[in-house]
């Protein structure tokens, strides 16, 4: 749900270019603060986790148009800088299958990596507080998904004026007719615009579906982490007594 499933050409130019610039800046910062050693050794793991995320994204829960992201579990296993790289790769591959546009790769990387990075920090924070694995993972996943979905809604809302332009393309009867009738109908249009692009409706559909998705992914991620904890607790790098 937190992935921007928009095709190319829907978001305004300035927005998706800013997305790429933002993603590059965040990537540079994260890799500057990361220790250099073992990066090439960890790359196959990044590839595997990214592949698991791609496979997760392909398992569609049709009634609510939801698919699991596995970003939080990837964040927990890879750490903040590598999960950023993994989400970038995932978005490139998903875009190559038409799952989200190519131009929104930057924005999607920012949104999805927010989920992974936040998931990583929340997981370690809640672990220190609760010392119980299931509730820790569930809360970390749930909150990280809320944050990334809200940021996705924020991104979509930034393009409102562009959607208005797309909607009015036909009403204006093409470019030339638009110029001739523009002055006469400007007042009427301003009134109509407010009704035609309705972000509240979009949000009111998205949030209840998202809520189901957050619950579902929270439960699935908790069960996955429990499974991993049973077999390879070392991967979770938990301090203190595991539960």
């Amino acid at each position: 749900m937190s992935h921007i499933h928009l095709p190319d050409g829907v978001l305004p130019l300035w927005l998706w270019i800013s997305g790429f610039i933002g993603a590059i800046l965040v990537g540079v910062i994260l890799f500057r603060v990361r220790k250099k050693e073992n990066l090439s050794r960890r790359l196959p793991l990044v590839g595997m986790m990214a592949a698991a995320m791609v496979l997760g994204a392909s398992v569609e829960i049709v009634p609510i148009a939801y698919h699991v992201n596995l970003t939080v579990i990837s964040g927990i296993l890879l750490g903040p800088s590598l999960v950023f790289l993994a989400t970038f790769v995932v978005n490139v591959i998903l875009a190559l299958f038409g799952h989200g546009g190519i131009t929104v790769i930057g924005l999607n990387t920012l949104v999805l990596s927010l989920e992974g990075v936040l998931g990583y920090f929340l997981f370690h924070l809640f672990w220190r507080i609760f010392k119980r694995l299931t509730i820790t993972v569930f809360l970390a996943t749930f909150l990280a998904l809320i944050a990334s979905t809200l940021s996705m809604i924020g991104v979509v809302s930034l393009g409102t004026s562009h959607y208005e332009e797309l909607i009015h393309q036909e009403k204006d009867g093409g470019l030339f007719e638009f110029k001739l009738t523009k002055e006469k109908e400007s007042h009427q249009k301003e009134e109509m615009v407010e009704e035609e692009v309705n972000l509240k409706r979009f949000i009111s559909i998205l949030l209840p579906l998202g809520f189901l998705g957050w619950l579902l992914e929270g439960v699935i991620t908790s069960l996955i982490v429990r499974y991993i904890h049973r077999l390879r607790p070392d991967l979770l790098r938990l301090g203190g007594e595991p539960t």
Binding site: G9, A51, L77, E196, F202
Partner: protein, 208 residues
């Protein structure tokens, strides 16, 4: 995602003119399709672009099994349409943009082997990203094999049934957990074999 193997098979084994065209030309063509999707805002032009892509799809004899992959993104586009009042023009515009984009990229992947695409990307993207991209693509095939085996195991444990949601969730989660652990094991082996073959922070492609 299972269609991925068909995509790969089609890209390597296909003999059409689009398969024989240089990857650079196809990437440039994809760039033009993308430019069209971004700039075109009238339906006839976008529809014409979609028809051209469909003709290319048929002419390049890409397996028809792959075609549903181009329709999949429509599911998510429907959600976005709630920002509007479902004006027919807006709906068709969004659908055509989705279909042009997905058909274009699927056509590119179905007619161009992925090492060729990554090799070109490697010229202007940092090598770290390209290695990660390459390893991810390779890992998808490894995990697909694991997933196939895991599906049988899930089936024997009751599979996924809406009547038993908790058991189904546990089975799905165990399957993903198993997939991740197998993936981690495979990634360690992959790294060792890459080092044995002389990997030093760069993957070399044929023709480099």
């Amino acid at each position: 995602m299972i269609q991925l193997s068909y995509l790969d098979y089609s890209a390597v084994e296909g003999k059409s003119f689009l398969h024989r065209l240089s990857p650079k030309a196809k990437l440039a063509g994809m760039g033009l399709v993308l430019l069209g999707i971004i700039t075109l805002k009238n339906l006839p032009a976008l529809f014409s672009l979609y028809v051209v892509l469909l003709i290319l799809f048929v002419v390049s004899r890409v397996p028809i099994k792959i075609f549903p992959l181009t329709l999949y993104p429509l599911i998510f586009a429907i959600l976005f349409l709630f920002v509007s009042r479902f004006q027919i023009h807006f709906v068709l515009l969004i659908f055509l943009k989705v279909l042009c984009g997905s058909t274009g990229v699927v056509l590119l992947l179905a007619t161009t082997p992925y090492p060729s695409i990554f090799s070109i990307l490697g010229r202007f993207l940092p090598s770290l990203f390209v290695i990660a991209l390459f390893l991810t693509y390779r890992s998808i095939f490894i995990l697909l094999n694991v997933l196939e085996e895991t599906q049988h195991a899930i089936y024997f444990r009751g599979g996924i049934q809406w009547r038993h949601p908790w058991r189904s969730l546990t089975n799905i989660s165990n399957a993903f957990g198993h997939l991740i652990l197998k993936g981690i094991d495979a990634s360690e082996k992959m790294y060792e074999s890459m080092v044995l073959r002389g990997f030093k922070d760069k993957i070399h492609y044929r023709g480099d």
